[in-house]
Each structure stands twice: as structure tokens, then as C-alpha cells.
Symmetry: C2
Subunit: 286 residues, 2 copies
């Protein structure tokens, strides 16, 4: 596996591959790789001739006081994991190479980035959209792979890709979970054992809403109540939101229908760690 | 010459050319082509194997009450001019194809877009940066050609290209002028004969500042006074700004130096028509 640090070298390498007729698959990450990331890498490996994974802790998507400084950085370990999953290139630019002094341009995604996570973390999706636009221009891939665990991020990136006419296919990939349902996340490393014990309540709440929908319950208030109750029974979690929204627009809905896909999303704190998760709601009627 | 309306077809066509090893030169325009545009096309023709000119009156860079509706649209004439200048493709997408319902993403360029034109036309450069980012993704050219007449626009696009890592060379091209110095602009068509007579005072003011600099005058106040005086002597023009700025940052300066390029910029109204122009200031010392 090749490690590329220079944005210009990355661009040149991709251009050479493209001229050579190769298809390029791209997995953007902030490192601290877990099986969720590696599953993206393995899928990318299957569907493309070249696999590029970026490792870059993006400062512009963190707010002051968030965990940018303490975000886990384990570059050597990440590279070993990528290598053993047959990644071709780890693209690991420096902060200064990505944001040189004087850089002022940002990509704003509008309403999709202002709700839910965007309300709690203003500017977060501006940072996400900007770094992903930059990475798309550096790693001119044919396909980019994103986990559904960060569902709003996925929607923001889909919108940005469509609105700015990036010629790349966004491939959403299912969330990978621990056996008790906790969604894999680099931030799980922050959890104390007490917090780790409490965390799966989020998945249980989502599953409860999912089960109600499967049984034909279309009234979103009932689904929300079911989620709230489960979360309320876990005092070691402080819920920030637990909502049911239109899966495309992320706008709140009151009724599930067969036509418009819906999604349940939860954010909760366990101590000082924020956890997010989500699930598709599919209404079954009899 | 081929006329392409579909963004997807444009993208496919360029990809085919790139795989074929062609170099692509791009001239983005809003149509109503004049010799300034055609000079860009001719230069693009010389420096690239394929020439693409886009014709799209971009709604997002006009403010309510500006001239979006009445902006001259002469598509057949434009195509004839492009054809006779050996352009390969006129890319003319519809407004709905470029901004389908639900599009929410914008490119914000920051401070560079907030001064001068950006102060008078808030949101203008947001619209410019967004459409150019979109066009860069649709017409994946190796080089894009912009006239220096819209100097701030050129700087905004250079910043956007650099900050978002677009792999394209921005080629600035000198302003083309009438024999009396008036910079060519599609908006000159709006001028009454009285206004047309008054308009070259802008060029005379810029030339006066230029001449002072050439003679060694580094005091910007003196250069500004010279411009003001000439503009004040033309009552048919209403000046909006006439400034001397750092040519990279567009920040006001007080002294010309040999190290940092400076630029004089003027905006003035002739009746209801806004005219802008600018000139490089080169300090000569003895």
C-alpha cells in the first residue's frame, strides 16, 4: 500500500489511473478505523480496480470545545488495517496542505445541514461538505462509500454531490454494530465501562420504533413515545433528540406512508461522549 | 460546432475526450457575446485541443431587481459567432437542468466576495462561485479562461479553485476595449448614446492613475484623487467606488510598492446601467 501525503501527488496519481482506464473507489475517513470503516474498504475493493482511503481529521467540522484535539489518531495502526484489507492508497494530507493560510471558501448545504446535528453543532456540515468537496477534487473517484451510521452526513453529501454536479456515485453502506447493537464509531473509545453498558439503549429504542412500523403502526407519535420510553429508562444516557423524519428531506413527519421512506434518528450523550444512530422505518400493512 | 444542452451529456462527452488524451479549454459566458468573449475563445483555441464555451444566464448571481430578466439573450447569434471562431461545443443548459427544484448547496468565497461588487450586490459572488463550481464539474476542462474586466470575479474564482482543489488552470486574459477605452461588456448594449459618450471617463480615470504610478507616484491618495477628479467632471456618470487595492486580497492600500501588485477598480452608473472596469498599477521608480 502506498501512503500519499501530497494533495498534488494524489491528483496526479488519480489522473494517471483514469487515463489508464481504472475505476477508482474512495473511502473518506478521519482515521481511528474500526470494522465499520473496514467494511467500506472491503466493499470498495470488490467494486473498483483501485481503492483509496483518506485519513484526515478535518478541523473545520469540529466546533470550538468539541473533541478535535483529543480525537483518536492512530495512523500506523490504521495503515496496517488498510494494508491487510488490500487498500491501494492511504491518502493522509496534513492540515496545512488542506487548509493553507488564506483559504476562505466553504460549501454550504442549506436546510439539510441546519437541522438535527446541524442545530446542535452549527457549522458542522459546512465543514463536512467543504472537506468532502475538496477530497472529491483531489481523489477523482468513480464511487465514494459512506456509512449510514452518519445518516444526515450521507444526505448532506448526496445533496452536495447532486447540487454541485460532482461526477461521482455516492454509495451508502449499512451500519456495522457490536453484538449488543451499539453502532461502531471511533468515539466509542471514549466510553467508560458504565457508559458502554448504557449505550445500546439507543439501538433498542430504534429497534422498537422499527418493530412498530413493521407491525403496521403509522402514527409517528406512537413510535416516538416508544423510543422516548426506552431512552428514559436508561438514566446514564442524556437524549438530545429522538425523531422520525422524511429520509430524504430530514423534515419531521407525523405519519409513515408506503411512498416516502422514513428514518428514526437518535442522538444522546453518555457522559461527555455524543452518540448518534438511526434506522430505516418500513411500514408494513396487512 | 456541437450544441449540448444536457449536463449529463456534457459530462460524458468530456470524459470521452479526456480518456482520448485531449486537452480541454473552457470559456464560461452568459452569452450576448462580444469581441472580449471571442478573444477568450480564440486564445482557448490556440492552447487546447478542444474548446467548450458555455452560455448560461445564471439566475443565482443576480439580485431581485437586477437585470436577470432583461439580460440580452441572443443564442443563435452567439452560436454563429462561436462557430466562426472554431469553438467545438456550445454548452447551453436550461435553468431547470442547472438548478432543479430542491437544490440548496452554495459555494461561499468569504471576504474576497464581500467587498466592492459584493458590498453593492450581496450574494452576487456566491452565485458566481456556485455556478462556476458546477460548470467546472460538468466541463472537466484543463484550463478555463476569464477576462480581467471582471477582476474581482477572477480573484473569487481563483480563490475558489485553489481552496476547493479544482484541478484546473485559471487563465486571466486582458480586457478588450473600444477605441475610446470603454471596456467591452454585454451590458454596454443598455447605454443610450448620451451614456455611451460619458462611459469612457472610467477608462480615462484608470489611465490617469496608471500614468501617475508609472511616473513613480506611490501615494494612493493622490491616485484616488486623480480618478475622482476625472469622474467628477463627467456628470452623466454616478461613481459607486473608485479604489486602489492589493491585487490579490482586494484590501485597500495606502502606498504602492514594488512587491505587492496593486489594482485600481471603478464602478459607476450611467443611467440605470452599472459599468465596472479596472487596471493594474505598476510603480516605476527612478
Amino acid at each position: 500500500m502506498k501512503i500519499i501525503e501530497s494533495p498534488q501527488e494524489m491528483q496526479r496519481q488519480v489522473e494517471a489511473w483514469r487515463l489508464d482506464g481504472k475505476t477508482i473507489g474512495f473511502v473518506p475517513t478521519m482515521g481511528a478505523l474500526h470494522q465499520g470503516h473496514l467494511e467500506l474498504v472491503r466493499r470498495t475493493r470488490k467494486e473498483n480496480s483501485i481503492v483509496v482511503t483518506s485519513i484526515f481529521v478535518n478541523p473545520t467540522q469540529f466546533r470550538p470545545g468539541e473533541d478535535y484535539e483529543k480525537y483518536p489518531r492512530v495512523f500506523e495502526r490504521d495503515c496496517a488495517l488498510l494494508q491487510s484489507n488490500n487498500c491501494d492508497v492511504a491518502f493522509a494530507p496534513t492540515k496545512d496542505a488542506m487548509y493553507p493560510a488564506g483559504a476562505t471558501t466553504f460549501v454550504e448545504v442549506g436546510v439539510l445541514g441546519e437541522t438535527l446535528e446541524g442545530e446542535i453543532r452549527p457549522g458542522h456540515f459546512r465543514g463536512v461538505a467543504t472537506i468532502v468537496a475538496k477530497l472529491f477534487n483531489l481523489v477523482r473517484a468513480h464511487r465514494a462509500y459512506f456509512g449510514e451510521k452518519d445518516f444526515q452526513q450521507l444526505k448532506v453529501i448526496e445533496a452536495m454531490t447532486r447540487d454541485l454536479n460532482f461526477e461521482i456515485e455516492i454509495v451508502p453502506c449499512p451500519t456495522i454494530r457490536e453484538s449488543d447493537g451499539l453502532a461502531l464509531s471511533s468515539r466509542n473509545a471514549y466510553l467508560s465501562s458504565q457508559e458502554r453498558e448504557a449505550a445500546p439503549a439507543i439501538f433498542r429504542a430504534l429497534s422498537a420504533a422499527q418493530k412498530l412500523a413493521t407491525r403496521g403502526e403509522s402514527n409517528v407519535e406512537i413510535l416516538r413515545d416508544a423510543m422516548h420510553e426506552i431512552l428514559a429508562n436508561e438514566p446514564r444516557l442524556q437524549p438530545e433528540y429522538s425523531v422520525v423524519v422524511n429520509a430524504q428531506t430530514l423534515e419531521p413527519i407525523e405519519k409513515l406512508t408506503h411512498k416516502k421512506p422514513a428514518r428514526a434518528l437518535i442522538a444522546a450523550r453518555a457522559g461527555s461522549t455524543r452518540l448518534i444512530d438511526n434506522a430505516a422505518l418500513e411500514l408494513t400493512s396487512f
